[in-house]
């Protein structure tokens, strides 16, 4: 089950401050990067919920985000729904779809689960690619952002939209924490640790998995809606399995099952991508080397490394001074 430690609170405060600072001081390009980070952070938050706390390593979360994005795009343009209604409907559709995927895949584990989710993702991808209603290869344009002018907020302003995404991310983070700390979240973690025992205690395991997977898909759907509103144009590339793969890389890079770590991972990943791609076209290579380094270090990602480091420091600070003198003498 998820726990907030002082270190995690500190990291959250630091991340939020950095994001706010960036949101108020950065120029156009900096704001675009910030928004990209925030949306990716929301996607990896959703993925960490299921992968880190329930062992459901999904390779369809990118596609789920795509469902949210396409859902919003089609509903708000072709279907002519107002943005708030289209947003709600798109998120609900994504949640429902991912609940079904979660229910179907709940019986499979490990590599089989990964492959099953990948298959669902690929089905969604090829459907979107072929179906005329989704614009096929060309994608869909002319997507509008949410109109909040009644409360005096203009989301077409880059800075305001970045702040909007930050608020949305904070809300989704809060939601994820509430879910993971709830009775459902506890059962979900219990299932990851010992599915057989949870079943023997009377838990309907597939329901618990489907419910959390659905809620995680809902958050991915919100990320998709924001992604569509951000770029105001979407293409099938959004649903390619590599998006899911990248999300998984970010979760592992940041720290699986820490919730805070993936947020750090998202920031590091996007900044690295932009910094390195301006230097070399082989930036993927460098990110790959970093990922291998992180995995080989046997720490749980960047944030796991920091947690281990802090734990080791406070441990050595707690050991009694005499004992330490003793070791020095020896």
């Amino acid at each position: 089950m998820f726990r907030h430690t002082p270190l995690r609170y500190a990291a959250l405060v630091l991340l939020a401050s950095a994001a706010l600072f960036q949101a108020f001081t950065a120029q156009y390009f900096g704001l675009e990067i910030l928004t990209e980070i925030l949306i990716l952070a929301m996607l990896v938050l959703a993925l960490d919920m299921v992968a880190g706390f329930g062992g459901m390593v999904s390779l369809c979360h990118g596609a789920l985000m795509g469902v949210g994005a396409y859902g919003y795009a089609v509903l708000s343009t072709t279907a002519g729904l107002t943005p708030p209604v289209a947003m709600g409907a798109a998120v609900a559709i994504t949640a429902g779809l991912s609940w079904i995927i979660g229910a179907i895949c709940s019986r499979s584990h490990g590599i089989y689960f990964i492959m099953a989710t990948l298959a669902f993702g690929q089905m969604a991808y090829s459907y979107v690619f072929e179906a005329p209603i989704f614009g096929g290869d060309d994608g869909l344009g002319g997507i509008e952002r949410l109109d909040l002018s009644v409360v005096g907020i203009d989301l077409n302003d880059t800075r305001t939209f970045a702040l909007f995404c930050l608020v949305a991310l904070a809300a989704m983070y809060g939601l994820a924490v509430v879910i993971l700390r709830s009775g459902l979240g506890r059962s979900f973690s219990g299932v990851m640790h010992n599915e057989q025992r949870m079943r023997a205690l009377g838990l309907t395991v597939w329901r618990v998995k489907a419910d959390v997977f659905g809620l995680s898909g809902m958050i991915a759907g919100v990320a998709g809606v924001l992604a569509a509103q951000h770029i105001m144009y979407i293409s099938p590339g959004l649903m390619a399995w590599t998006v899911s793969g990248e999300a998984l890389v970010v979760v592992i890079l940041g720290g699986l099952g820490t919730l805070v770590g993936p947020l750090v991972g998202a920031a590091v990943f996007v900044v690295l991508k932009h910094e390195l791609s301006s230097l070399t076209t082989h930036w993927h290579l460098i990110v790959g080397v970093i990922l291998i380094g992180v995995v080989m270090s046997r720490a749980n990602g960047i944030f796991g490394f920091i947690e281990d480091f802090v734990a080791a420091r406070s441990k050595s600070a707690n050991t009694n001074p005499k004992a330490r003198e003793g070791t020095k003498d020896a």
Binding site: G183, N194, Q196, R197, L201, V208, L215
Partner: protein, 247 residues
């Protein structure tokens, strides 16, 4: 309360359960004895539904549950502990018991509230912790408690679903005779209306708690009766003591 009729199970050519018929009355405490490999655990697995018998029926509280999945049987009041600890290692004793109690009270699937904060869950956790002597360890993690205490928790988790029938697979396996005796005192203090089926390796310990005794050998019931009769049975001595001395 719990009844089996002609349960039969083979693994390939190995016939591990042979037409086993058992009948436990409400509140009965029955001990299953039998040498290694006699098919005791396999029988439990069929009772709770983790294994499907090749033929035969299982009845719980008068209802045929043979076709019911594990979780449904559990919710109808059948609970078990395992021969090998099956605990949630990273969690505290309290959280382990809480997971089980949450399922029983319907709090295990709630999204907006934490199950462990619920008064009804806390009450069960406290009750069970008292029943199996875990009060001093409530906030310790499983990794921090001794093996013997873990054995108590193994049974505690099973008890926290407030079962009608509790199956215990060698609850005292691996603990010293002293601790095993203490454990049997705990079992003796469980509510009298709880039906118990206990696999036990040690015959003397078995006599501490048993109302009735069943002896399995090569998957077959070779004795079914009162402890006194079991004690005097030559057949039992032959089968059971023979292998006991090997061990």
């Amino acid at each position: 309360m719990l009844e089996t009729r002609n349960l039969d199970k083979s693994f390939g050519a190995v016939h591990v359960t042979r037409r086993v018929s058992l009948k436990l009355e409400r509140g009965e405490r029955r001990v299953i004895l039998g040498p290694n490999g006699a098919g005791k655990t396999t029988l439990f697995n069929q009772l709770v539904g983790e294994l499907t018998p090749d033929s035969g029926r299982v009845h719980l509280a008068g209802e045929d549950v043979t076709a019911l999945p594990v979780a449904k049987r559990a919710r109808q009041g059948l609970s078990r502990s395992y021969q090998k600890n099956t605990l949630f290692d990273g969690l505290t004793v309290e959280e382990n018991l809480g997971l089980a109690a949450a399922i029983y009270t319907g709090n295990a699937t709630r999204i907006w509230s934490d199950s462990l904060g619920k008064a009804e869950v806390r009450e069960i956790v406290r009750d069970v912790a008292n029943q199996v002597d875990l009060m001093p360890f409530l906030h310790a993690k499983v990794s921090e408690i001794s093996y013997g205490v873990r054995r108590q928790l193994e049974v505690g988790v099973a008890l926290a679903t407030r079962p009608l029938v509790l199956l215990m697979d060698e609850p005292t396996s691996g603990v010293g005779p002293e601790m095993a005796k203490g454990f049997h005192d705990l079992l003796n203090n469980l509510p009298r209306d709880l039906t118990l089926l206990i696999i036990e390796h040690d015959m003397d310990l078995a006599f501490d708690v048993a109302d009735t005794i069943t002896v399995l050998n090569y998957g077959e019931v070779v004795f079914d009766g009162l402890p006194d009769a079991a004690r005097g049975s030559d057949l039992l001595k032959e089968i059971y003591l023979g292998s006991w001395e090997d061990a």
